[in-house]
Point group: C2
Chain length 103, copies 2
Amino acid sequence: MGHRAEPEHTHPDDVPVQAVFAALADPVRLGIVRELAGSPEWTRACGSFDVPVGKAALSHHFAVLRSAGLIEQRDDGAKRVNRLRCAEFEARFPGLLDLVVRG
Amino acid sequence: MGHRAEPEHTHPDDVPVQAVFAALADPVRLGIVRELAGSPEWTRACGSFDVPVGKAALSHHFAVLRSAGLIEQRDDGAKRVNRLRCAEFEARFPGLLDLVVRG
DNA sequence: CTGGGTGTTCAATGGGTATCGAACACTTTG
DNA sequence: CAAAGTGTTCGATACCCATTGAACACCCAG
């Protein structure tokens, strides 16, 4: 009954703008964020996204999104589910998330 | 009285968000935009910015900012002066420029 | 016309990072 | 327990891009 190492989260307040730009400059990550924005919180597991990369790269992208303060992750059984940090992110970077979604 | 090749401009409306993020993900370009935001239009020549790179790299960065729809350039004698496309950019990406300046 | 200043282009180099395959850890189901 | 599913980590590879120095073009002041 061992625990799995919980992912390290970074609050949007502790993230420089440049890091956010770098995180969103990648097409795969941008797609993930958009897909996540259209789903209810905690409903999307990491493997449920329509991305053209393998699991290894995917895991890397989620780590980047986490350290950019864009997403939060929680373990739910064997899966790791995600949510977009809409409120916190909007408070720190007003309007940014809207721009991402609208394209 | 030959003309010098005028720089190719791209209107913000024709720029995908991802390209803007990529442009602003670089520290040198971010610095240029910020410095430009604090100066009156058409007052700053390319060489007048406080950046830790040579002229060649600098010229490259300006080309990127141009093709991202962030700046406009005009030849003024031997110099090439710049302006931030505040209005057009704000219309296309509301709030983004503010985020850049505020850090 | 000559010289100094400004900016662009080119070829070459280096560094960062996106990607993959394989191995591993954990969970749930059979 | 065995097997299948989910996600992470590691080592290796490849590619993109920021940077440089040198050569060039243009403008202006002597």
